[in-house]
């Protein structure tokens, strides 16, 4: 069998961690090879080595049988290796043409020749069915289109081996379908693809073979067709994964949060959230499903008080809190687990104990007459650390920056749940965590529900929403498409609703 690229016995160490330990990955010509692993398993490091961003400590890379040294991304490009990064690398105020030619411009005299480049981009776009307008500005086109621009960048440079790093994270289900079609088209034209992902469904849908890694080690490379999803999951996590949570039936009580015709402006003054009406009751988890950027951010910020609502009402236990500041809402029983814990959840340079009082530092017992009571702060920290099993080297005095991602998230969850809130708002609470930590967070959310509290869960992971929620509200373009019971729906229906098609419109 002919391999276009082989990474043999790759080892890479960072201070304190072995990111890749003797991993071998082989890509055949004209196949889609999935690289499966949990967050932190070493996928990115391995691919960064292939793309020339890091040098392996040991092991060899072979291109069509010949050993190569990829010292930087330029070498990778020259060897025909291209990568679509998870975060697009596009200059927003440049045209698509300018973005694509950047770094390999052709010139006429001294002037950059954009015209003939645009012509070539049009041809490539037509050949691979990418439907890209070379003269549009990147800032003006959709996320899906931006991804296709990234693909064109590689095709423009005649890449033969294309690496996709978690390409579906930012796409709508429909755009995902589109991408799968594009991937098959690439293979048809003789390209070879490595697909980095942790989503089993996508692997089953499009990949030929799958290399599974766990904690920096190679587990196996298997044929996708003959391997079940459960088996893949087990290989990825290292134990049987049930995928089912123990959810007792429960009758929800009175409404805790009521959103009534809420409208919120997004960035640049455009409507972010339009006449949104929803209620969350005691003892239930309401999930908000939707593609990123469809009003979730505006919804969350309006509810917690970071953004002003233009019209409508936000009722918390029957009282309108629309005009209250953030602190007023916290005091009335709201708690919040943000999606970006480093940016919104923690003060990384503060100690663990300081982070645990971030919302209460001004109240007794932590503050007396404007002075901090360090003893009370320590006592509180010790208790919460114990209760939520936060592991930190130096205990309460440890700087939060030094904690692992899972423990940082536990710090936030501990702080928010310890406040005993009536309403807990959790946005992507499991992002970037490994399966163990994900299960922990899910358990805690369900516990809240079982204790008769209300939970509003906003997530881009449809699986998470379907698994945890009692009811699912689907949001599209800032509007509520509909609310369905989790027990009575499935991924297809919610996925369709996420594109804006109302329930029942298609049977």
């Amino acid at each position: 069998m002919e391999y276009v690229i082989e990474m043999l016995n790759i080892r890479k160490e960072f201070p304190g961690v072995v990111a890749c330990d003797d991993i071998t990955l082989q890509l055949r010509k004209g196949e889609i090879l999935a690289l499966l692993g949990e967050n932190g398993a070493g996928k990115s490091t391995l691919m960064s080595i292939l793309f020339g961003l890091y040098q392996p400590d040991s092991g060899v890379i072979r291109l069509k049988g010949k050993e190569v040294r990829i010292s930087n991304p330029n070498v990778a490009n020259a060897l025909g290796i291209g990568m679509v990064h998870q975060h697009f690398k596009l200059v927003h105020n440049f045209t698509i043409t300018e973005n694509i030619i950047l770094g390999s411009e052709t010139t006429r005299g001294l002037v950059v020749d954009t015209r003939s480049a645009a012509r070539r981009i049009r041809e490539l776009s037509a050949r691979y069915g990418l439907n890209v307008d070379p003269d549009a500005r990147v800032a003006d086109v959709s996320v899906g289109m931006q991804q296709r621009v990234e693909i064109l960048k590689m095709l423009y440079r005649d890449a033969e081996i294309l690496i996709f790093d978690e390409p579906t994270a930012v796409l709508t289900p429909q755009e995902v379908q589109e991408l799968m079609k594009i991937l098959r088209g690439l293979i048809y034209e003789g390209k070879s693809v490595i697909l980095i992902t942790h989503k089993l469904k996508e692997i089953k849908a499009v990949a030929d073979r799958c290399t599974v890694i766990r904690r920096g080690r190679l587990i196996a490379t298997v044929d996708v067709e003959t391997t079940s999803g459960e088996k893949l999951a087990e290989m990825m996590v290292g134990r049987k994964v049930t995928f089912q949570v123990d959810k007792k039936a429960k009758k929800p009580g009175e409404a805790i949060l009521e959103l009534d015709n809420l409208s919120v402006r997004g960035p640049g003054g455009v409507a972010g959230l339009k006449n949104f009406t929803l209620e969350v009751r005691c003892g239930e988890i309401v999930g908000i499903a939707g593609v990123d950027g469809n009003g979730q951010k505006e919804l969350v910020e309006a509810v917690i008080g970071l953004r002003k609502a233009d019209s409508g009402r936000i009722l918390l236990k029957g009282n309108d809190v629309k005009d209250l500041p953030v602190r007023g809402r916290i005091a009335r029983g709201m708690a919040f687990i943000p999606d970006d814990r480093h940016k919104y959840g923690l003060i990384l340079d503060y100690s663990l104990e300081y982070n645990l009082i971030l919302k209460d530092y001004y109240r007794t017992p932590f503050s007396r007459k404007g002075l901090l009571d360090h003893k009370a702060i320590r006592r509180h920290a010790v208790r919460v650390i114990e209760e939520f099993d936060v592991r930190a080297g130096q205990g309460a005095a440890a700087t939060v920056r030094s904690l692992s991602g899972g423990n940082q998230q536990k710090t936030i969850v501990g702080r928010e749940i310890d406040a005993n809130p009536d309403l807990l708002i959790a946005v992507q609470p499991t992002r970037g965590l490994d399966v163990g930590a994900i299960e922990y967070i899910h358990r805690r959310l369900l516990e809240q529900r079982d204790n008769g509290k209300a939970v509003l869960l906003i997530s881009l992971e449809l699986d998470e929403i379907l698994k945890i929620s009692d009811r699912i509200a689907v949001i599209n373009n800032g509007e509520l498409v509909g609310v369905v019971r989790a027990a009575e729906t499935d991924e297809n229906e919610v996925g369709l609703m996420m594109t804006g098609i109302k329930r029942g419109a298609v049977s």
Partner: protein, 370 residues
């Protein structure tokens, strides 16, 4: 956290040493003996009680501007406007001092209050612009510096013109000066004045506010991560404005101690160098009040000793400014030193140096330009 602070002090010391080495090279280049140069430089600042007093007097406004910059830093703001705030503080103090015939304690209190208020308000505007319109404080405080510069340039000759020169104000009466009999006598008639007492009080006060109070917790939380602070219910905008105002008030007080203590009138057409030196002071002092005190006294020493050195050797006094400027450059590039220290440490631990990439320490989160 304590190790981090300790590390910053080591870096500061390295920066000082490198600055002194650079100064030595310059002395050599101009055909002078650097050892002799430094001998006279330090003797000039320390050799007797009078010169010691002068060192402290020179350090006084630097302590204030250093505290001003450090305080804003802690809230994540970069106050480049200490020079302008000093000017406005000095102008307010001078205006009060020249206008009202009050008794000394009342007059001094009024002058200091005016300086505090003037500097504070001058800085409150950039704080407000930052909070309300997200205008970057580096740019706005630079603009405010020059607005202050020209304001003084036209106000002083117009309202407080001195008897001899167009370019300076009238001399403040003795009742309006921070120079005081017992202190001057204690230090053998040096420039030292009540400003130093005030400065030390404010060093203690800022340290207390930052470390012990709820207010300090809030300010630092905003400084480290204003997004998380906002989500936690802290009023970020209020803290930004307050922090800038306090920073401005401190610099304003520095202006009062300079123009109504060290000097006794205002010159026009000069942006006081203490404004930018304050950034160096804050940087060297690791943004901590005590560190600021030490760094300011060190700079005061250099400034006080340079005249004596110039008299005894043929080294121009500007060497002191050059050394200070070089120190701030080395402080800004301390990451280089940090890398060397790291490598040494690792070698001592018997580990191999790891390939570049992950092991580089992120740039210290001081201010940040955007």
């Amino acid at each position: 956290m304590t190790t981090r602070a300790g590390r910053e002090y080591i870096l500061s010391l390295v920066a000082i040493v490198l600055g002194l080495v650079a100064g030595a090279v310059l002395m050599l280049l101009s055909g002078n003996n650097p050892l002799l140069g430094y001998l006279y430089l330090f003797r000039g600042g320390l050799m007797n009680i009078e010169r010691l007093g002068n060192t402290l007097a020179t350090a006084t406004p630097l302590i204030f501007t250093g505290l001003s910059v450090a305080f804003a830093f802690r809230t994540g703001l970069f106050n480049i406007g200490a020079a302008g705030q000093m000017l406005i503080g000095g102008l307010c103090a001078t205006a009060v001092g020249l206008t009202f015939p009050w008794s000394r304690p009342v007059l001094l209190a009024a002058m200091l209050t005016a300086a505090l208020a003037g500097g504070g308000l001058w800085a409150a505007l950039p704080g407000w612009l930052k909070a309300r319109f997200n205008v970057h404080e580096v740019v706005s405080t630079i603009m405010m510096n020059w607005i202050a510069f020209w304001t003084v340039f036209y106000m002083v000759p117009r309202y407080f013109k001195g008897p001899f020169l167009e370019t300076e104000s009238q001399k403040l009466p003795d009742t309006a000066s921070l120079k005081t009999q017992w202190l001057s006598a204690l230090f053998n008639g040096s420039y030292i004045n009540l400003g130093i007492v005030l400065a030390i009080v404010f060093v203690a006060l800022t340290a207390f506010i930052l470390d012990q109070t709820t207010f300090g917790y809030e300010l630092k939380a905003v400084g480290f991560n204003r997004h998380a602070a906002g989500v936690a219910g802290i009023n970020v905008n209020r803290n930004l404005i307050l922090s800038m105002t306090i920073a401005g008030a401190l610099a304003g007080l520095g202006g009062a101690t300079f123009y109504a203590g060290y000097a006794s009138n205002m010159q026009i057409g000069v942006l006081p160098s203490q404004g930018f030196d304050g950034i160096a002071v804050s940087l060297l002092g690791a943004n901590s009040p005590l560190g600021v005190l030490g760094a300011a006294i060190f700079f005061g020493l250099l400034h006080t000793g340079k005249g004596f050195m110039n008299a005894m050797t043929r080294i121009p006094p500007e060497i002191a400014d050059t050394i200070i400027a070089t120190i701030i450059y080395f402080a800004a590039t301390s990451i280089m030193v940090e890398r060397v220290l790291d490598r040494l440490k690792r070698r001592r631990a018997g580990q191999l140096p790891v390939a570049a990439g992950r092991d580089t320490i992120a740039a210290p989160k001081k201010g940040g330009a955007r």
